[in-house]
Symmetry: C2
Subunit: 373 residues, 2 copies
């Protein structure tokens, strides 16, 4: 097999390699070769990844069928360091592997491949197809609001509501929330609505590997498993069990004030003001005049900062709110619309943030209640 | 002062910023401004760095002289996040600083600058001048063999022997050694020979900042201090006290075998063989024929590797030696000559490694004594 191709295949499945698994066989990468090609599999307790190299008689020449599991740490380094050109891999009796290229020859002890887990086959189940570009964009807009705390496992995932021709991704860590709805996909065999919770980490791992933005990704959901497939790469993950909290009642329907600012200008000012927001990250936003808002923060013993941001459009009355500056920075960074709309209700309700050119996307961030001075 | 210039100045002196100093004032950066310009100083217990921005009435406009110390963590982030253009810095009574640009205004509590340490002035002392390109090259070739253990502090430094028109840098961690001699520099006021020990970390910090390879660096040595100066940047460090071990008796004068290999080919093979050298990093080199050497290593329970490397020239008899593969990789990586010469004496003597086109450079690596089988 060509060193270049094998090295890139190994790179793709690396996120699934277990580095400290309690199941010894998962510390290995499985190689399976037959007349169709060479399939590399890596697995940890959360997900499996597979990359297939086709038998084209040029980059891959198959002499005999066979399987073996090789210690991933060594295999990855060996493949990466081999000279360009073809690498000869020979599986011998007694689970020995010989890897050879140029004048280098490795003899490794392999592991019995029979105990290695297999991908779950999805049959007669629903399938969704996305352009990689759009899928990557949506994943970027929801995954940053995933909870990192294991106290409520469902919140470490992204809720995915599928109905007829619409799909809605929601993630929240209880302080901020992202909701992204899309109809830019095609379906097959989806005859009913369903909601599943996709583990956030796996979704992020997969989106990082979507380097070919022109390509497409098939997503199959069946049983308790989700499978992503793009070109030669497959990622399979368990879904998170449980019920995702209902979020529709969280978004305020009425507003006391609504304003529009330029995204980049607002972001830069927020970043600067957040620098002095200390451990609480509290940033105050005050609307006093019709032309601008004032952002401010302070750190005890260090100092304070104020910055004014020009408003593009305004509808409503004066206000003063406090929020987590870093969390707001994350939201504004994820928005690629030129202008952003902020909507406020009262002290108890979250602030609504929306890109002005996409009504299917919104973010919520809770206010921090501070003593009125 | 221009944001771009100030931001780059702050970047240069960052290596000297104390992050967890027990001396509170060292957690700050000192600003001193007068009609000549603005001088930024950062210091930790090991070194001081200074960057001078000249008063050119365009990138720096001076209204009044003054000094202040500002918490470095906040100052660095504030400067980096300010909009392009001019930043106005005002030092007020009571050690308050106001930093302003565009619509952002920071008010910070400063620290009294009087207690901040000052650079040692070198008067009537020796000075050496190097091209940055050459200095960087030499630093790269010695610093990787510095000891990281504090048990023998002198070995954490680079020994620098200065005589008439020659300078020799030596570093060793007792297992490997680098010796680099040069005459490509000019001197002033050096009327006697001397040997000083420069802290390795500071030498590395300075070389990383030598981005302008066309420039020159002045090195002044006096008392117990060494000062590097290039363009607007100054780094001052204490020297390490003590006596560096004499290393001349370590280099074998006679050889039983000498061979020449292509640097890149030898390096790649070494890297591959070292992958299976386990925790000991033991790599064996065997010379049996006149055409090639064989490198090998093994890791218990994992496997073994052998690779042959063609010899370009050979003088001497058959041999079998074992050395630390990773350390040898470091040495061969530091060599930029196309071919490299390896010289062997007997089991007790170190191996000598030399770039074939530079007789002023050599490396030693001790053999690992293994039971003869």
């Amino acid at each position: 097999v060509s060193q270049k191709l094998l090295s890139s295949a190994v790179h793709y499945i690396t996120p699934a390699v277990s580095t400290k698994s309690v199941i010894p066989i998962l510390s290995g990468i499985k190689l399976h070769v037959d007349n169709n090609g060479l399939i590399l599999t890596a697995a940890n307790t959360g997900m499996m990844m597979q990359y297939e190299i086709e038998n084209d008689s040029e980059n891959l020449i198959v002499h005999n069928s066979g399987s073996i599991v090789i210690h991933s740490r060594y295999f990855v380094d060996i493949v990466r360091n081999m000279p360009y050109g073809l690498i000869k891999i020979e599986i011998n009796d007694g689970l020995n592997v010989c890897i050879q290229s140029g004048m280098a020859r490795y003899k490794l002890n392999g592991i019995n491949p029979e105990e290695y887990p297999n991908l779950v086959k999805h049959e007669h189940c629903g399938k969704l197809t996305f352009s990689n570009h759009h899928l990557k964009h949506i994943i970027k807009q929801v995954t940053f609001t995933i909870s990192t705390s294991e106290t409520r496992p469902v919140l470490t995932g992204v809720s995915c509501e599928i109905s007829n021709d619409q799909l809605r991704f929601v993630a929240t860590d209880s302080i901020r929330l992202s909701s992204q709805t899309t109809n830019k996909f095609t379906t097959e065999h989806f005859d009913k609505s369903m909601t599943v919770i996709i583990p956030g980490k796996q979704l992020l791992d997969f989106s990082r590997l979507l380097t070919n933005e022109q390509g497409i990704t098939d997503i199959a959901i069946g049983g308790n498993t989700i499978t992503f497939k793009t070109n030669n790469l497959t990622l399979q993950s368990s879904l998170i069990e449980g019920t995702y909290p209902s979020i529709d009642r969280l978004k305020p329907e009425t507003f006391t004030s609504e304003l529009i600012v330029e995204t980049t200008k607002f972001l830069r000012a927020l970043e600067r003001v957040t620098l002095l927001s200390g451990e609480s990250n509290n940033v105050k936003l005050i609307l006093m005049t019709v032309n601008s808002i004032v952002l401010s923060s302070k750190t005890e013993a260090i100092g304070d900062v104020v910055e004014e941001v020009i408003i593009e459009e305004l509808d409503g009355k004066q206000l003063s709110v406090t929020f987590n500056g870093r969390y707001m920075v994350d939201i504004i960074r994820a928005i690629d619309s030129k202008k952003v709309k902020l909507r406020f209700t009262d002290k108890l309700k979250p602030i609504v943030v929306q890109p002005i050119d996409n009504p299917n996307s919104f973010f919520l961030i809770t206010q921090i209640r501070t003593p009125d001075i």
